[in-house]
């Protein structure tokens, strides 16, 4: 019960943030020197056409009225407006683009966890040995390399030079889309060649994104493991003669895992939003590219829609992290007061 109330309270915190995000985006649109209607209509548009667009999107009204119209549509009809550049409803666009980005971010996330956390643990256990140096160098390189540059290098190496992996797009064949998640859809279609195609296309971008996140994860896991390994209960557990495996996993890792999880929670939202660079380079038909395009075109409805989704995902991932704390650590009681 407590948990449900807590989740409700946290989700309700979304409302002011979303309101703020709305206001901010509309203010940005207001200070933009370019005339949005003119940008949408194209260079050859007649003044009447621009005027029609302006009327339709309430661009002649003051900002607060624009926000009001937008909110009214959002609350009453769950309508995010029509994208001024694609001509489709923003909701349809987002539904089409969100799964691609989510798939990419999700696999990068899993890869980063599967490689990053064990690497961090091993690094802490073999402190100042060659293994430790190796993993620290990997982590530091991951953190210091600009995403767009490593993406270009990966593409150059594995696609142009070695010809091992495809580097563009998401799927080369047409299949029935049930969920929008290509891997899932190809399985549902029982189309294994499509599955293979989608999977190989996913490898390069997902790995590039994972490399970056992994760097942080290794650093944080290592630091927090080192701290826990010095604590008295770990020393006691060792002195008791418990097997090393039990000491590491039951005693140390369980306590050391909280900081890495926090970082992951923050990062997942970032991954979803920050895939812009990767999607541009790998021609990945996702939200990041959609957002970048809408910013260039001053496509306000699309911008707002995208931002709302990104903000929601960010807040939800933080919520999941907080709930996860209480599962790992019984001292953290979600919903109750500390102490």
């Amino acid at each position: 019960m407590k948990l449900r109330n807590y989740i409700l309270r946290r989700v309700s915190l979304l409302i002011p943030v979303i309101l703020g995000v709305l206001v901010l985006v509309f203010i940005i649109s207001y200070v933009i020197p370019a005339d949005p209607a003119r940008a949408w209509a194209g260079p050859k548009a007649r003044p009447e056409q621009i005027e029609v667009l302006r009327e339709r999107y309430h661009l002649n009204d003051p900002v607060y009225l624009q926000i009001y119209y937008y909110l009214r549509n959002l609350v009453l009809h769950f309508d995010l407006g029509v994208s001024a550049t694609t001509g489709r409803p923003v909701l349809t666009d987002l539904k089409a683009f969100f799964p691609a980005t989510f798939e990419l971010a999700f696999f990068a996330f899993v890869l980063a966890i599967v490689i990053g956390i064990p690497l961090g643990v091993v690094s802490a256990l073999r402190r100042n040995e060659p293994t430790d140096h190796f993993s620290r160098v990997v982590a530091l390189t991951g953190v210091s390399t600009p995403l767009f540059w490593s993406a270009l290098l990966m593409q150059f190496l594995f696609y142009y030079k070695l010809r091992w992996l495809p580097a563009f797009g998401r799927l080369s064949v047409e299949i029935n889309r049930y969920t929008g998640f290509v891997l899932l859809d190809s399985v549902l279609n029982w189309n294994w060649s499509a599955f293979g195609d989608a999977a190989t296309r996913l490898i390069l971008p997902a790995f590039t994104l994972a490399f970056y996140t992994m760097g942080y994860l290794v650093r944080i896991t290592r630091g927090s493991m080192l701290e826990v390994l010095e604590s008295e209960y770990v020393v006691t557990a060792k002195a008791k003669g418990l097997p090393q495996r039990v000491v590491i996993y039951r005693h140390a890792l369980k306590n050391a895992i909280i900081p890495p999880i926090t970082v992951l929670g923050i990062n997942f939202g970032w991954l979803l939003g920050g895939t812009v660079l990767l999607e541009t380079i790998f021609s990945w038909p996702g939200m990041g590219r959609y957002a970048a395009g809408s910013i260039v075109q001053v496509d306000l409805p699309a911008m707002v829609g995208f931002t709302l989704v990104a903000a929601t995902v960010m807040i939800l991932s933080n919520l999941v992290v907080d709930i996860f704390y209480s599962i790992i650590d019984p001292r953290v009681r979600v919903g109750g007061k500390a102490k």
């Binding site: 002011p16 530091l140 953190v143 939003g273 903000a311």
Partner: protein, 314 residues
């Protein structure tokens, strides 16, 4: 603040013996511990090299970074052109030397704008609490809810794409992080006994900020500042890469990577070397930042202090 003689290069013994201003002593100690870490020294060297290039790079560059020589396009790295030439026959090495200063300028401008805003708002929120805290933090929440790169892109599109506007956009995105940091520090310092003591002596808010809160925030700011330089250099390059920052023919590193992108297959050096430049720089700031953080860590510090006492007094 008057710095004593030998402020930077002084022995630990001297630092502890002399009666210095606490802040000076703090920095002297930090520097001393920092010098003991190999990685931090490497980081510091990288940063120094980068700063040197930012200041003198344009003078030591062998070629004019803007001069177009179509006949000399795409010359691979050689003795005459260390990093090769790009699609217009411009020397990549010279362009990189010229470009170094844009990155450092971006980092400094962003931090010079973002840190004071963060300190001011975070300080107010942490020190006074109540409705001021609530308003400021909800406001920062809004900014933090955006994916930062997207927000920076929108601002820079709104202001019109140029390197300077990209910096302004990044500062708008960056201040909330400092606000959070400072607020956290202020909250923890506010509860300490010495602040309580100062309050009971009748100290005013301004006194508390000046004597207790700011000095305590200095080290976390220093660490974040150093680590953030790397971030901002990457972010500026990313904005330029996407076309929201530096415009051609400016030799900004992110822009150079993006210009060379389509010629990757015939001339990899055009994109690879500027990228390496960014990696080295960011690596330098990360190593230095980690080093400073370790040097400021009270736990590690105590060990050194004990060692020092054993050495000197036994």
């Amino acid at each position: 603040m008057k710095l004593p003689k030998g402020f930077l290069f002084t022995s630990r013994y001297r630092i502890l013996k002399r009666r210095l201003h606490p802040i000076t002593k703090e920095f002297g100690l930090t520097f001393y511990v920092l010098r003991k870490s190999t990685l931090a020294v490497i980081g510091a060297l990288l940063v120094c090299m980068f700063l040197f290039l930012a200041i003198f790079g344009s003078r030591i560059a062998p070629y004019n970074p803007y001069e177009v020589k179509i006949r000399e396009r795409f010359i691979p790295p050689s003795k005459t052109h260390w990093f090769g030439t790009d699609k217009m026959g411009r020397d990549v090495f010279s362009r990189m030397l010229h470009g170094a200063r844009y990155s450092i300028r971006a980092g400094l401008i962003v931090l010079v704008i973002a840190v004071p805003i963060g300190v001011l708002l975070g300080g107010i929120a942490g020190l006074f609490g109540g409705w001021r805290d609530e308003v400021i933090m909800r406001f920062t929440d809004v900014f933090l809810a955006f994916p930062s790169l997207i927000l920076a892109m929108s601002f820079s599109a709104a202001l019109g794409p140029s390197l300077f506007n990209a910096m302004i956009a990044l500062s708008i995105v960056w201040w909330p992080m400092y606000t959070r940091l400072i607020r956290g520090q202020a909250l923890s310092v506010r509860e300490t006994d010495y602040v309580e003591a100062a309050r009971s002596r009748g100290a005013g808010n301004w006194y508390l900020v000046r004597r207790h809160i700011l000095p305590n925030c200095l080290s976390p700011i220093l660490v974040t500042f150093t680590l953030d330089m790397g971030w901002i250099i990457t972010a500026t390059a990313a904005l330029s890469f996407l076309g929201f920052g530096a415009q051609p023919p400016m030799p900004e590193w992110g822009r150079m990577i993006s210009d060379g992108r389509i010629y990757m297959l015939q001339a990899w050096w055009v994109s690879v070397f500027p990228g390496l430049g960014i990696v080295m720089t960011v690596l330098g700031f990360n190593l230095l930042g980690d080093g400073i953080r370790d040097a400021l860590d009270p736990k590690l510090r105590r060990i050194t202090e004990v060692k020092w006492k054993q050495r000197t007094f036994s």
